[in-house]
Amino acid sequence: MPIPPLLTYALRRLVQAVPVIVLIMVGTFLLLKLAPGDTVDALVGDMGGADAQFIERLRIEYGLDQPVWVQLWRYMSKLATFDFGWSFVYEQPVATVLMDRLGTTLLLMATSLSIAFTVGVALGAIAARRAYSLTDNVISTLGLVFYATPSFFLSLMMMLLFSVKLGWLPVGGIKTIAGFYTGWDHVWDVALHLIMPTAALSLIYLSFYLRLMRSSVLQVADLDFVRTARAKGAGETRLMFHHIMRNALLPVVTLFGLQFSTVLGGSVVVETIFTLPGLGQLAYQSVIQRDMNTLMGIIFLCSIIVVVVNFLTDLLYARLDSRIELS
């Protein structure tokens, strides 16, 4: 039976991703080993101190007394069987720790990126359509201001206004604790909690899409085939939707794929402020705690997500760009 081209393509992408992921994992491992101190230091710091034998015993327990390359080899050979190891900080298997957080992060990233993408693209198209007009200036300036505002600043201001002053939105967390909502109430509850973090994240990324889309539309609008369509008697709206948009979206889609991992990094601060139990915050904590296995797990997961997202954006790209055929 012939393998469908999409599958072969997916397989090829997977094979290509393997060396990159190995590179990332080894690199991160060694990098983190360069950092002063280890998990035990962090744990002891957290406990408020411990005596020397205790510390010694923990190190042996965690295998931290071994040479670095032994530790690396142990880790990598476990990883090859998709065993992420044990988090000494959370006293749980890393896989459990990660799965607990993955949902929140994916939800946050997916909603904020899709909002950023759609709104950014729409505003960018409008701004380009009325290039150099008042509308354009207002949209572009707002975009730049949001872009220039540090995310924590924006988050704090929002929290101050909407939670404390107006009391409309919950301060943080992912759901009302001890609310015990189920069904749609639960969905609504989570949605309420996600409004501000999503807004904070998406406003920043929105401006990227906005600016790119604007210049992309301006660029495409100058192309010959748009002139052809005009010469056919097509009106501006038709030009925009049938001729310009789809071509102008191409670079924006590429950015979408590239930006995914940045958003995860960007969510560190937002998750911290809004107390969202997500991977961004977990990553930050893991660095500080030298929680090697957890951090490595996050990075691994993140690489997989990025590979998948890039694969999907490539598919989307191919869908949008008829010149590309997957084979």
Partner: protein, 551 residues
């Protein structure tokens, strides 16, 4: 005849049209006082060098000028008696594509890459024809058949990148003619095409127009094309009409000195008498050259098909000889020129320069050898580093090869004079020159190393005819004066005929015919060569005796 023209009601009448350019442009008006008329069933050719305002006049008729920077300052445009300039944008939309249609130069970019051919033809129908989908589809398929596209059904569903350049231009024409417009404007519709395709398209336009009786405003800069197709000719220069009249008269008996000069620049097809070269030594010899572009595909495209650009090619170039390499697009001409200079590594074969095999040299040896074999490139803008001053561009070669920089620069100034440029040019940047001047700089750069062989890849095809003639003349002069050998790659048979001693004709990477220019041009043997020769536009027209000094 001129009496007849005035009597019929014109489809298009332009009077005293003035188009203003934005401040800071090289002239205030792109068009200054253009008047012309297009009658039904008539092809009016607008000729003129680059920048003379041809495209903008077409834009003005379509009301598609890039306003507000460029706008109609004065004059009138009447289409079938209606004042187009007074129409609203909505009214204009009703006219565009319906009663006036347009074909553009680049079939590559003029079609939306993301929509199927069928969709794009359908769009024009949808906009102007109140008809059901199936009906429109049928009409579109009819149109595709009319423009002689082999398999209209599959072309209908194809994306532009899936059909050839010639077919794309046919699609454009089908689109333009779909609603039987009264006026069709064609802005250099064949310039980007191969000679053979060009001729087919020209014929097609002509036939279709005969059937429909539309008027055509045909823009071109090629007098060959004019001779092929025009009923009436308008010659533009710097936005002013210098001469207009019936085709026969303008072509064969130009009145204005400018027109005369232009026509005189058109190379005629009679090759020069063969030079006695058989006893000069062979300076450059290629044997069994082969190049396959094995396809390392992109991530998304996967592996591409391997393309054999050149297979088993051999030639010999003697001292003082000019060897022309001709053939249509994609036949491997450029590949040959790059193999010979080792800008591309050949898969197999040898290139001997004065007996030494270039392809066997180490990189260091090769760098030293390059002194002897220099190139002149096609695009005079792209081949000069825009960030370098002319003097540095010319002196670069000698300096790399160990010359004293100060002396090399001094030499460079002298070379500028040799290529007939003022030494004042030395300190300027490439963008401050016209195309022809840049090509002169390119020639000076090649000469600076005092090479034995110069390889020129389409050195004049990016230039206007008038300038083309001058650059060719310069090249010929220098060749004769310095006893250079020239490997001259071109797709323009007229140019080849004028300059080359011998010619090799390539098709799909292979030599199909070779011999002296005189033999090949007067008595082509291979069927492919014969088709090529018969496709030269205006081949039956011999430019009138040169009565002006073009240089």
């Amino acid at each position: 005849m001129s009496q007849d023209r005035q009597d019929t009601a014109p489809i298009l009448e332009i009077r005293d049209l003035k188009i203003a350019l934005p401040e800071g442009s090289d002239r205030p008006f792109a068009l200054d006082g253009l008047s012309l008329r297009v009658n039904p069933g008539e092809i009016v050719c607008m000729v003129g060098e680059s920048g003379s305002g041809k495209s903008l006049s077409a834009g003005a008729v379509m009301r598609l000028l890039p306003e507000p920077h460029v706008y109609v300052a004065d004059g009138s445009i009447h289409f079938e008696g209606d004042d187009l300039l007074a129409k609203s944008e909505a009214e204009m939309r009703g006219i565009r594509g319906n009663r006036i249609s347009m074909i553009f130069q680049e079939p590559m970019t003029a079609l939306n890459p993301q929509k199927t051919v069928g969709w794009q033809i359908d769009e024009v129908l949808k906009l102007h024809m109140p008809a059901k989908r199936a009906e429109r589809r049928k009409h579109a398929l009819d149109m595709l058949a009319r423009v002689q596209i082999p398999d209209p059904e599959s072309a209908y569903n194809a994306y532009p990148h899936q059909i050839s350049g010639g077919q794309r231009q046919r699609v454009m024409i089908a689109m333009a003619l779909a609603l039987s417009p009264r006026l069709m404007i064609a802005d250099e519709p064949t310039t980007a095409l191969d000679v053979t395709t060009q001729l087919q398209i020209l014929k097609l336009i002509r036939e279709l127009q005969r059937e429909d009786g539309a008027g055509i405003l045909f823009i071109t800069h090629d007098f060959g094309v004019v001779a092929e197709i025009a009923d009436h000719v308008v010659v533009l220069r710097h936005g002013e009409v210098v001469e207009q009249g019936p085709a026969a008269q303008v072509l064969n008996d130009p009145r204005h000195p400018y027109t005369q000069a232009l026509i005189a620049s058109v190379p005629d097809l009679a090759p020069p008498a063969p030079k006695p070269l058989s006893d000069s030594p062979v300076v450059l010899k290629g044997t069994g050259l082969k190049k396959t572009f094995a396809a390392r595909g992109g991530l998304l495209t996967g592996k591409r098909k391997a393309v054999t650009a050149v297979k088993d090619l051999s030639f010999a170039l003697r001292r003082g000889e000019t060897l022309g390499v001709v053939g249509e697009s994609g036949s491997g001409k450029t590949t040959v020129s790059r193999l010979v200079t080792r800008l591309l590594e050949a898969d197999s074969g040898a290139v001997e320069l004065d007996g030494a095999d270039l392809l066997a040299c180490t990189p260091a040896q090769m760098r030293a050898m390059r002194k002897n074999i220099q190139m002149v490139f096609q695009d005079p803008m792209a081949s000069l580093n825009p960030r370098k001053r002319v003097v540095d561009l010319i002196a670069q070669g000698p300096i790399v090869h160990g010359a004293n920089p100060a002396e090399a620069r001094e030499n460079a100034r002298e070379l500028l004079e040799l290529v007939e440029l003022s030494p004042a040019a030395a300190n300027r940047f490439p963008h401050e020159f016209s195309g022809g001047q840049r090509q002169r700089i390119g020639i000076a750069r090649a000469l600076a190393l005092e090479p034995k062989v110069i390889v020129a890849d389409e050195p004049v095809s990016a230039l206007d005819v008038s300038v083309q003639a001058q650059v060719l003349k310069l090249l010929a002069d220098l060749r004769d004066r310095m006893n250079l050998s020239l490997l001259f790659v071109t797709h323009d048979l007229r140019v080849a005929a004028q300059l080359c001693d011998s010619v090799i004709v390539m098709q799909k990477g292979e030599i199909v015919e070779s011999g002296t220019a005189a033999e090949v041009f007067t008595n082509p043997q291979h069927p492919y060569t014969q088709t090529l020769m018969s496709s030269i536009p205006g081949r039956d027209w011999t430019p009138p005796v040169r009565n002006t000094d073009a240089a």
